[in-house]
């Protein structure tokens, strides 16, 4: 299964960003948490970011992706683990290369927050 996302991210993103903060509860931890989401948990908008957002973000927050700071070999191992153990769909060769290139280039050891 392949997903082409370019046409779909922008309109959905606009709607979600517009409405999410207005309805946050008044719990201060929760409010701070919701406010931080938009600022801190975005990945660089470089080629491949939409695929990373879709495949990685489908199950878990992107924040943990940003925090890893792994080298290429470790990201490669992690993608294998995700498919073998964590039910991530098998990636087609081109898409896997795009995602791995993205992670190694933009979320490597020099990019930890």
């Amino acid at each position: 299964m392949r997903f082409k996302l370019r046409q779909t991210i922008t309109p959905i993103a606009l709607i979600c960003i517009m409405f999410a903060p207005f309805t946050a509860k008044s719990d201060p931890v929760a409010t701070e948490f919701a406010a931080n989401v938009m600022q801190d948990w975005q990945i660089p908008k470089e080629p491949g970011h939409e695929e990373v957002e879709a495949y990685c973000g489908a199950c878990h927050s992107l924040r943990i992706v940003i925090q890893q700071g792994l080298d290429r070999a470790s990201w490669d191992e992690l993608l294998v683990w995700m498919v073998e153990e964590q039910d991530m769909p098998e990636l087609e060769h081109e898409e896997r290369k795009l995602i791995l290139d993205y992670l190694a280039t933009h979320l490597g050891p020099d990019h930890r927050p």
Binding site: M1, A30, W41, E50, E53, S61, L62, I64, M88
Partner: protein, 429 residues
């Protein structure tokens, strides 16, 4: 595109949809249909968090509060959130100063999605496998049939300290705050096992909880670990239903959990539904591969280790935390009272030393005994500074086998067991 949302095609159209496919293969989903898997993925990514009932979303949906994840951390105060899905949050050191950790300050660790149905009146615990008599118990059954006890018990995540690894180790990037010592009330794990009757060939326990896998697959457990039967039979392990005198917090395993102190927190299954006894080492999710395992021999930072050389972590190592004052203190006093806690897995801490000169000289702190085995131990010390300037206070605990905390991290591929010394900064003006 006047209906607002369209979803790019997969090769097979969604069943039951009014789907149209245009020349580019874009599928417009009719008004009464769902936004589809890739649309949900996109929406989740755009808001940076899960949309728990996302499969119910319809076209034209406007998001309300992310009530599931946000409400789940009500009742917590001052935790640093590492991630929202799964929700993981740790406690800053200075908020861990209480003798026993209040529920609002206890760290949160999720491997999957916590359950929504957590009614203590209907919850059941199954005890089966290699037992003489399988049991199915309600919480009322536990209270009525077994002695109820309360202990202060330390829980530490195996990956506490992972964020300091260089090169980085994969996993949640805990710094120093995945540790707590609350008062837990429940029945002894050992008493329940004895009631079921442990068969003579039992080697290991296997635990299951009601949390669900992040992928949404209902047949997949997010985590199922266990312990050797000898550890399970220790009289300080609890099947707990109260924390600090009240019902468990939903993020800490309500309404029933294990507390197996001294070993990685993952041995303490939350939202506990089943214990089964096995004649082999348990191999559930996060028991195998490199999960909660370290190399059988010392390795260099970044070294690749074959899976067969990784061994299961048992007792956590000796460690300590400075909880007062808060780091980055500015003071004009030349003396300072410092304090905190120390713990050592299955063992006892016998000494705690502090240094203000980067480890060149050490002063012994006043260290208290634990209130019961597996509680952390409180310590305090008075230090003095010769002149104005920048100082660090370091703390170093020593356990009852003479092992103390290292200056540096023993690197391992998954970032476990960082028990190097905690340091706080003090500016004396």
């Amino acid at each position: 595109m006047d209906d607002g949302m369209s979803v790019s095609a997969s090769k097979t159209p969604m069943s039951g949809s009014d789907a149209d496919t245009n020349d580019e293969g874009v599928v417009n989903i009719g008004r009464r249909n769902f936004i589809g898997k890739s649309g949900l993925a996109a929406a989740s990514a755009a808001v940076g968090m899960t949309i728990p009932f996302g499969q119910n979303l319809r076209e034209g949906w406007v998001p309300a509060a992310q009530a599931q994840t946000v409400e789940g951390i009500g009742g917590k105060d001052g935790l640093t959130i590492l991630g929202d899905r799964p929700l993981n949050a740790e406690t800053p050191a200075h908020l861990l100063d209480d003798e026993f950790t209040p529920t609002k300050r206890h760290f949160i660790r999720n491997n999957g999605i916590p359950p929504e149905e957590v009614d203590p009146n209907t919850w059941t615990l199954t005890v089966d496998g290699l037992v003489d008599k399988p049991l199915k118990l309600t919480i009322a059954d536990l209270k009525n049939n077994f002695e109820v006890v309360e202990y202060a018990l330390q829980l530490e995540c195996g990956g506490n300290g992972r964020s300091f690894f260089d090169p980085p180790a994969r996993g949640n990037q805990w710094s120093i705050g995945a540790i707590a010592c609350s008062r837990w009330k429940g029945v002894r794990y050992a008493d329940v096992l004895k009631a079921a009757g442990v068969k003579s060939n039992v080697v290991y326990t296997a635990h299951e909880g009601a949390d669900t896998h992040l992928s949404g697959n209902p047949d997949k457990l997010p985590i199922s670990r266990g312990v050797p039967i000898k550890k399970a039979m220790d009289s300080f392990n609890l099947i707990a239903f109260e924390q600090n005198g009240t019902a468990l917090h939903p993020m800490n395993g309500a309404p029933l959990r294990l507390v197996v102190p001294g070993w990685p927190g993952s041995c303490s299954q939350k939202w506990l539904t089943r214990i089964h006894l096995r004649d082999v080492v348990h191999d559930g999710p996060k028991m195998t591969g490199s999960s909660y395992r370290v190399p059988a021999y010392p390795v260099a930072p970044g070294q690749k280790v074959p899976k067969e050389d990784m061994v299961i972590i048992e007792s956590m190592p000796v460690k300590s935390l400075i909880t007062r004052p808060k780091t980055e203190l500015e003071t004009s006093d030349k003396t300072l009272e410092v304090g905190g806690h120390a713990w050592a897995g299955d063992r006892k801490v016998t000494a705690l030393h502090v240094s203000t000169d980067f480890g060149a000289t050490w002063k012994e702190a006043d260290l208290k005994d634990p209130v019961n085995p597996f509680a952390w131990q409180n310590w305090s010390a008075k230090v003095s500074f010769p002149q104005a300037g920048y100082y660090e206070v370091w703390a170093r605990a020593t356990d009852d086998t003479g092992v103390t905390q290292p200056f540096a991290i023993a690197w391992n591929p998954k970032g476990y067991l960082n028990n190097s010394m905690h340091r706080i900064a003090v500016r004396v003006t």
